[in-house]
Symmetry: C2
Subunit: 258 residues, 2 copies
């Protein structure tokens, strides 16, 4: 029996995306790799799960690596559930998600399919990390990201990730020599200023495309946005206990039971 | 000009669901109401947004209330973005989401379309509350929930909701006289033990239905699960800064930059 860690690889850009192929390549150097990833892009799916529709899973071969691969009709969170409860014969030692084509820093963590897969694994008690590269292009270059991904994964396997926490890693789109290092950060306060591009379809019915501008409202030098802007890789510990514990005292002054 | 608060009403079960109709009825007693809700059920959509598809919006009349209503082809988070940036001519004073048919307590907050609408409003700086009734049936009885919803909304308008926080309210499925009161709580540690029901389609291809059992792992008497089990309405303050601040010190001991 293999002494190597079992690593589950997931993403949200779809199983053929260059980002997940790069991640698989690195993970094959570290452990036994099983891939369970969506059969089509699922970006912006947040933590969606498929409860009113059926799920199809297909064993597939995409390239020549040592990994075993399954393509799934569901969302990234579905892929984790299927992998853990249906496909794998033992619990994975680690779940890695990505490498996403595009940033999942600051508030983007909320909308991210990549991070929802990592969070789903975390909820099930599996150490998990989401990786994203700050380049939205399908043909983004993931080469320079690989050694940093390896360093972070090896540290996670050696040290363990704290309970109830998953890691959100974002990597600047720079040559290796220009990346200054890896920084542990907090999520910056930021949001999207949406704009809607209003059009008419050929039948004259109005419709919208969602567009928008990312706005960082946080000047802190301990944030992921600061790190990325200053050529660092950001690592944010993310939790799925969403309770705003600091607000409980205030709410207890409300007149809720008069 | 009206001195009444402007209240945006959203849900994830779709604009015709009895739960949102009950919520609109209560909100009409408190403010000027605009409804922007999905044209079809969106349960389990988490914080999904529509970035690779078009959005349609239609002004509709569903019943006789004073509210203005729009039905939208997108997700609950899309509805908030469209309402705030495209439909409303001023910022709402409050966004309420629901009343959901079914619980969004503890870990369900992560998968919930109802709560994703509230979180989206919160991210945009609008005070927001999600309401859920512990009854999954389409014909659930929302009558007994109404006075409690009114009390919580009036408190929120009077006291203000702390910055960066939205409220997750769950209501037991009990007669009014059997509800013991309203309790401010933390999110219980719980998860779903999924099972997959494996079947074959008429063409002989295997597929799965996601099912599962909710498991509460938390005996704390300050949790939402405890409150609900003991016939209280639970109010959990929820935050969208997901940083696990307590884990930063530990991660800083890792050898990330050697």
């Amino acid at each position: 029996m293999s002494k190597k860690p079992l690593i589950l690889v997931i993403n949200d850009d779809g199983i053929t995306a260059p980002g997940i192929r790069a991640l698989i390549e690195v993970m094959n150097e570290i452990g036994d790799v099983v891939v369970v990833a969506p059969d089509s892009p699922q970006s912006g799916m947040g933590h969606a799960i498929t409860i009113n529709s059926t799920l199809f899973v297909e064993k597939v071969v995409i390239d020549k690596g040592n990994q075993t691969e399954y393509s799934c009709s569901g969302t990234p969170a579905d892929c984790v559930k299927l992998a853990v409860k249906q496909i794998l014969d033992r619990r994975p030692d680690l779940c890695v998600s990505g490498i996403n084509h595009g940033s999942n820093s600051s508030i983007n963590v909320i909308y991210s399919g990549t991070m929802s897969a990592a969070l789903e694994a975390g909820i099930e008690g599996i150490p998990a990390i989401g990786f994203s590269l700050l380049d939205y292009n399908w043909n983004a270059n993931f080469e320079h990201a690989k050694p940093f991904v390896k360093t972070i994964v090896k540290n996670a396997l050696k040290n363990g990730i704290p309970n109830g926490v998953v890691l959100n890693v974002n990597i600047p789109n720079l040559a290796k020599k220009d990346i200054k290092g890896i920084k542990v950060c907090r999520q910056a306060k930021a949001n999207w200023e949406e704009e809607f591009d209003k059009r008419k379809n050929p039948q004259g019915r109005e419709y919208y495309w969602l567009t928008g501008k990312f706005v960082n409202l946080d000047n802190g030098e301990d944030t992921d946005e600061w790190a990325l802007k200053n050529n660092y890789i950001s690592v944010v510990p993310v939790q799925f206990d969403l309770t705003a514990h600091h607000a409980i005292q205030n709410l207890n002054t409300w007149e809720l039971n008069d």
